[in-house]
């Protein structure tokens, strides 16, 4: 990944093969433990009709079937949910990144009155229990005509305290002298932001985009409040709907969730370098 040396690396030269093997075994064990629930989700979705609990303890399935997936697409508007999820997630991530990048830049690179107070307030707001706000938010969404709309699902959550915290931390690390040099050359603050800060923040922006994507993709509570029409549901809400008091379609839930998890895993796999570098260079480092 990046060129650096840490205590382990220095010590590594002196390490015996035995340690390497022990480490490998340890991490294989950990990986198996962490992956196991996911593996189980996948095999559960492949069990023949109605056998999800009957065969639950079969770690290596004796019979596989795609019936559940066929039913998922035949009986439920799964494809619609999928497309909704992609659109809403994309919209949410872009909006959130825009708000947090500009806001984080302001908090990190300008001195103004009440800046720290504002920053603390924003962080504190993250601590307010969401359920306290449901009634007021619900009322506002209806009054503003935002129920059943993508704006309603996206905008209220987009001012993410964690997001702006993350971007602020990143922006703090950008060299002030670079910005000052541009100021001396006569660039406006907006040019400086656009031409210097943004390109430098690219890894952090990518990371934040992905974190926002993950957040919305699995978000259950908020979209449930905004949407009631199944045609507007994102995946998480649609899948939750498969289990109710009188009919518990655990098999469809497992299949639906498997298909919902795959894209996120693929996305993460392709962008993992980007994410890790983003996190690394941000350092989440508070100075």
């Amino acid at each position: 990944m990046t060129q650096y040396v840490n205590p382990g690396k220095l010590g590594a030269r002196r390490q015996s093969r035995l340690t390497k093997w022990l480490m490998l075994i340890l991490f294989i064990f950990l990986a198996v433990v962490f992956i196991f629930p996911l593996y189980w989700m996948v095999i559960s979705s492949l069990r023949p009709d109605g056998r999800i609990f009957v065969d639950a303890m079969e770690i290596i399935p004796s019979a596989l079937s795609l019936d559940t997936y066929r039913r998922l697409f035949d009986e439920e508007p799964y494809l619609t949910w999928f497309i909704n999820s992609i659109t809403q997630t994309g919209g949410f991530a872009l909006t959130g990144v825009f708000l947090c990048t500009t806001g984080g830049y302001a908090l990190a690179k300008f001195r103004f009155r009440y800046r720290n107070l504002l920053f603390v307030l924003i962080l504190v707001s993250q601590m307010i229990p969401f359920h306290l706000l449901i009634v007021s938010l619900f009322l506002m969404i209806i009054q503003m005509g935002m129920a059943e709309t993508y704006q309603g699902a996206i905008i209220p959550l987009a001012a993410s305290p964690i997001g702006i915290f993350f971007m602020r931390q990143y922006m703090l690390a950008i060299d002030d002298e670079m910005l000052n040099a541009a100021r001396v050359d006569g660039a406006t603050e907006y040019q400086i932001f656009w031409h210097i800060a943004l390109p430098n923040a690219r890894p952090a922006i990518a990371t934040l985009l992905i974190l926002f994507c993950i957040e919305y993709w699995n978000n259950l509570l908020w979209p449930l409040i905004v949407f009631r029409n199944p045609d507007n549901f994102p995946l998480a809400v649609g899948i939750k709907r498969l289990i109710d008091q009188y009919r518990q379609q655990y098999d469809l839930t497992m299949a639906g969730s498997t298909l919902a998890t795959v894209p996120v895993i693929i996305l993460f796999f392709f962008l993992r370098r980007q994410i890790m570098e983003g996190l690394a260079t941000t350092g989440t480092g508070v100075k």
Binding site: D49, G50, R51, F53, V54, A56, M57, I134, V135, F138, L139, I142, Q143, A147, L224, I225, R228, N229, P230, V237, K240, R241, D244, Q245, Y246, R247, Q248, Q249, Y250
Partner: protein, 436 residues
């Protein structure tokens, strides 16, 4: 063709065209409905079609939205609180209903449209959705408590399921059935499982012995003798007789409990009739050859043979266009209380209807593969011979919460006395503002 004939033909055509034009002009009334069970929505739509055939001049166009159980009730409450956003009709689950009776009146009373049917139905089924003498909701089913048996586990020790008439019979048989089959010192088969984080195992005996949460006068009767007796009975099944154990996972809807049933670790348990649908849905009909249903054993001759569990009442919200109220109410009674509707409640939804006269209908008297090829309604009819009523009130949701969180857990797991757990519950209710 005479002139007269031509004229009359012209007249007929004119009238026909005219009435056609009228029919076009009279559009179907739009009604919206929120449900948390998709099949309820489909059922109401098919009833709307039946209504339109019977009343083409007052047609309705019913659209429904299915929302997750918790969220639907939360959204409905919030919408009714803020005065906008609620549907015309909504399903409200029995344990959530009282929450809606605490503020301003949120639903329209249905007394008038129910009146013509009162003689035909088990009227106490309306009690859970009644407040201040007004019936606000109509249920989809009776939810009669019945016993679910695994006959294979009984037969292994020579117990005939038909011989279990009283609880004494049942306990005696239970001592045989409950056993360690592989000799490892641990009991492998229990006669019964009881819910500690679900309400049904306690609520059944409480109601059938004359207790429950509320009495007919709307008073909290948590600490009544009947409730003490019922909880003592439940505790004895587990700890004195040793024939019952807590359901794995705490209640009868956990995946672990389904596994227990399929693996033959539980010989019987009681739940409302609608639990029958779990056998094909969650257990892949694995128990088809051994599962049967029977009426619950009785404590004494002439006592209640069953009671009602769970339920969902459809209500008309105050946010409906006032011009539509009468039509919506009539439709609601039509969809839930007519003979045809009650047959459909079984054929479409698999529920036990609350009208008694449909229990002899051929549509109900069918053999079911999932229950050993027997005709379940023979036994359900026997079970509902005398059904203990259930009354609810403002603190019913809290009582249910207390029961399913600490009360039954303390009773069964911590072996606290019935008096103690009931008085703890009463004390907590009073701290919440209940006055009794």
């Amino acid at each position: 063709m005479s002139k007269f004939r031509i004229i009359s033909l012209a007249l007929v055509i004119a009238v026909a065209l005219g009435s056609f034009g009228m029919a076009l002009a009279q559009e179907a009334t739009e009604l919206t409905l929120w449900v948390f069970v998709d099949r309820h929505g489909l059922y109401m739509q098919s009833q709307a079609e039946r209504w339109n055939e019977a009343h083409p001049d007052r047609a309705i166009n019913l659209t429904y939205e299915q929302i997750d159980y918790t969220q639907m009730h939360d959204n409905l409450l919030a919408a009714l609180l803020v005065g906008m956003g609620a549907p015309d009709l909504a399903d409200v689950e029995i344990s959530k209903f009282a929450t809606f009776t605490k503020g301003d009146e949120m639903f329209y009373p249905l007394n008038d449209v129910i009146d013509p049917y009162r003689a035909d139905i088990i009227e106490t089924r309306l009690a859970p959705y009644t407040a201040n003498g007004n019936n606000y909701g109509i249920d989809y089913h009776l939810g009669a408590f019945i016993m679910y048996y695994n006959t294979a586990l009984l037969n292994e020790v020579g117990v005939d399921v038909n011989s279990l008439k009283t609880w004494d019979d049942y306990i005696a048989a239970g001592l045989e059935v409950t056993r360690d089959t592989d000799g490892d010192g641990e009991i492998d088969v229990h006669m019964m499982s009881v819910e500690t984080t679900g309400p049904f195992s306690a609520r059944g005996p409480m109601l059938m012995l004359g207790g429950g949460a509320y009495n007919a006068n709307g008073e909290v009767i948590l600490e009544s003798e009947a409730n003490i007796e019922a909880l003592q009975f439940l505790q004895d099944l587990v700890h004195m007789h040793g024939i019952a154990r807590p359901a794995t996972g705490g209640h009868h809807h956990t995946p672990e409990h389904f596994i227990d049933l399929v693996e033959g670790r539980i010989a019987s348990f009681y739940m409302p009739q609608w639990y029958m649908t779990r056998y094909p849905d969650n257990m892949a009909s694995q128990l088809a050859d051994v599962a049967v249903i029977r009426p619950m054993p009785v404590w004494e001759e002439g006592g209640y043979t069953s009671t009602m569990g769970g339920g969902t009442g459809t209500v008309i919200t105050k946010q409906i266009d006032p011009d539509k109220v009468a039509l919506a109410a009539e439709f609601l009674a039509f969809a839930k209380l007519t003979y045809e509707a009650n047959v459909a409640l079984w054929t479409d939804l698999g529920f036990d209807p609350m009208r008694l006269d449909v229990y002899d209908d051929d549509a109900l008297l069918i053999a079911m593969d999932d229950f050993s090829g027997e005709v379940p309604f023979v036994h359900i009819k026997e079970a509902i011979a005398s059904v203990a009523p259930e009354y609810t009130g403002a603190f019913y949701p809290e009582i249910t919460t207390i029961m399913t969180t600490t009360m039954l857990y303390d009773l069964i797991e911590n072996q606290m006395s019935p008096e103690e757990v009931l008085s703890n519950a009463a004390e907590e209710l009073r701290a919440m503002g209940a006055d009794f």
